[in-house]
């Protein structure tokens, strides 16, 4: 496996990505369980606040409810305050690593891709996160939506060099 990893691994991993692993530390695999637990808590919030509901998404895009706007808005406020505190006081991770933030570069893909995702979001009632939670709640047919989203990502990888950025 390791001999197949190219030298520019980090550059490739960073392409069109928000959440790349910045940590240089190498841990045993079971350290990943803390992300599993964070995900579980997050998934419970998704279901209990009905964020994964197709109905709630329809309400949002018809301006019939403040619910989703309140969630995204208050999440951004809390997130921004947290990021501000981390930057201001140079807070480190629990392993003592520095936390770095990267400036995003604009690409025309933010517009084209953003519009395309918006169209899909309103049809399926799901962004990528809620897809996983919808399957968990027992609506098994959303597996099809997830597989299709994986296929969409794959086709993007295939044509990436042929479309404008």
């Amino acid at each position: 496996m390791s001999k197949n990893i190219p030298d520019n691994d980090f550059e490739i991993r960073s392409l069109d990505a928000t959440c790349i692993n910045d940590s240089e530390l190498v841990h045993p695999y079971w350290y990943n369980l803390k992300y599993l637990i964070t995900g579980i808590l997050f998934g419970i919030v998704f279901v209990k606040a009905e964020i994964i509901s197709w109905f709630r998404i329809q309400e949002m895009f018809r301006l019939q409810s403040f619910h989703m706007y309140g969630i995204i808005g208050s999440a951004v406020v809390v997130g921004a305050i947290s990021v501000f505190i981390i930057k201001k006081f140079k807070v480190k991770t629990i392993y003592g690593e520095d936390i770095q933030f990267e400036e995003k570069k604009f690409s025309i893909g933010h517009i084209y891709g953003g519009l395309l995702f918006g169209l899909g979001w309103a049809i399926t009632g799901a962004c990528p996160g809620p897809l996983f939670a919808q399957i968990g709640t027992g609506i098994s047919v959303t597996i099809v939506t997830l597989v299709s989203a994986i296929a969409g990502t794959w086709v993007y990888g295939l044509v990436r060099n042929k479309i404008p950025h």
């Binding site: 490739i12 928000t18 019939q64 947290s82 995003k104 995702f117 899909g120 939506t145 994986i150």
Partner: protein, 186 residues
């Protein structure tokens, strides 16, 4: 207590909890909150097909797959143990509109009248699930992130490209929900 948890949670409880995911992931391992990348890691792990975009060490990002695995389990736990016994409450105007499309079952978070296996055989169900899912997967990667990576993490870090992306998400959603979806559902 458990009765209170079973009710739908208001936005001012859920929103801050989601916002706290950003510092939580940074503090426990220097990870940036974003979910759509998991779809790319699945491609890289399962079908890289010699495409340059998928030729990277996905094992470095395996935390992201644990995270979405957790979201799946969280959905399972919430549905099995903490489910709200009441049907979902939505705006009367939406109820009225959806009734015209034959949607009247609010017992699940999704309208199971259209989101079911047999409706995949019809154009409507195929558009909703297969085409819709494809647009979500292609669009989020083209945009470099989804609601979590751009609208939460990116905006929290005051990145203007993320604001542009978020506005485009919303514009796309408004167009689909108000102008196109009514024709698909009809």
């Amino acid at each position: 207590m458990i009765e209170w948890i079973k009710q739908p949670w208001p936005w001012y409880v859920a929103g801050p909890l989601i916002g706290l995911t950003v510092p939580a992931l940074l503090l426990i391992g220097n990870k940036r909150f974003g979910i759509s990348s998991s779809l790319r890691h699945i491609c890289a792990a399962c079908f890289p097909a010699n495409i340059n975009y998928f030729k990277y060490d996905w094992k470095k990002e395996i935390w992201n797959l644990f995270f979405v695995g957790g979201i799946f389990l969280g959905g399972l736990i919430a549905a099995q143990l903490l489910a709200n016994p009441q049907p979902i409450q939505v705006h009367p105007a939406l109820v009225n509109e959806l009734k015209g499309y034959g949607i009247s079952d609010y017992s699940q978070l999704m309208p199971i009248e259209i989101f079911n296996w047999s409706s995949l055989l019809h154009l409507k169900g195929w558009l909703l699930m297969v085409l819709g899912g494809f647009m979500v997967g292609f669009g989020t990667r083209y945009a470099g992130g989804c609601t979590s990576g751009h609208s939460i993490t990116g905006l929290s870090n005051l990145q203007w490209p993320s604001l542009v992306a978020t506005i485009c998400f919303m514009v796309g959603g408004f167009i689909m929900a108000n102008l196109i979806l009514p024709f698909i559902l009809r």
